[in-house]
Symmetry: C2
Subunit: 193 residues, 2 copies
């Protein structure tokens, strides 16, 4: 499990043994069972998460209905907006599967940055890359119909469609569960001919 994290980091920067040990000594690892809520609307957390195994999701409750807007799976990181704004969170974070994650704290992060400036480089590179990827995803979302969005998802993250409930996928695609169901019907009709 520890190796997963170090292996991931090694794709971006080279770590000395001292640095590897520094990371492991932080005891960042946490096991979270399916359904557990890591952050609630209205709370002000300082924790950031990184998924080693499993799946987290963010969701809003709007007019009493859950609206899932993002899924985070293996090697994805989340820094909740409230960590940066220091305002109460507008959304929830919970585990859709039994998951193993690492938990980071800004003060701890700061300490690491000072001890090992390389870590700050890593974080800069990771967030720049994420930002660019996120922009492309947003662009694709804007320029696609719901049906195309679903088709893209089928190609780009086929695992998600298997591991996540349909009604959560629906709001992730910006539609209602009923529409997703219809749309799936349309597609399989086309394929069957």
């Amino acid at each position: 499990m520890h190796n997963i994290l170090l292996e991931f980091i090694s794709k971006y920067i080279t770590l000395s043994d001292a640095e590897e040990n520094a990371i492991l000594s932080l005891n960042l690892f946490r096991s979270v069972p399916k359904g557990s809520v890591l952050l609630k609307e209205g709370e002000s957390s300082t924790e950031g998460y990184f998924v080693l195994k499993g799946c987290l999701r963010t969701y809003y409750i709007i007019d009493g209905n859950e609206k899932t807007t993002a899924f985070y799976t293996e090697m994805d990181g989340i820094t909740p907006n409230c960590v940066l704004t220091k305002l109460p969170s507008e959304y929830f974070i919970s585990a859709t599967e039994d998951s193993i994650i690492t938990v980071a704290d800004p003060s701890l992060e700061q300490e690491m940055f000072e001890k090992f400036p390389k870590f700050e480089s890593l974080c800069r590179i990771l967030s720049e890359e994420l930002l660019a990827k996120q922009q492309v995803r947003f662009d694709q979302f804007k320029t696609s119909t719901p049906e195309l969005r679903y088709q893209h998802l089928l190609k780009q993250r086929p695992d998600l469609i298997q591991r996540v409930p349909q009604h959560q996928l629906a709001s992730f695609l910006g539609i209602t569960p009923q529409s997703l169901s219809r749309l799936r019907g349309r597609i399989s009709e086309k394929k069957t001919g």
Copy 2:
């Protein structure tokens, strides 16, 4: 003009005179007239931009039609996706207004990071903040109807609606120009009662 940039940076980190001079000596500033294209689809640029004055936009050409997906105004930065992926760009960047921007290059950036590690902190903080903001915008987009998206835009970026052509706004909102026109009609009817 130079002061705009230093003032912006000073919101995030404190610069010594040497550091300020280092930035200014880079001669990053460029004036771009309305309509000029900074990046074309298929090109592989290494330049990043920061808007001091004016407005840039990114757009795709899909089935022969321009689809505008983002606007960048004063104090917004863009690192085109192709700079990071090193693949040909999928979109265009052009100026919707006469603009003054700074142009940055990865090698130059790297040099600055080494000379003044503070700059890397700045870039990390900026991209982390942007990423979080971008996520919230995406969430809001997903959970809103086109009409609500327009209403949000009216509140959150009223300037954009004034300074940008309607048909560009439309695709930015994920709809056709005709729908935007109708939707605006509906809204002003409601207000007039």
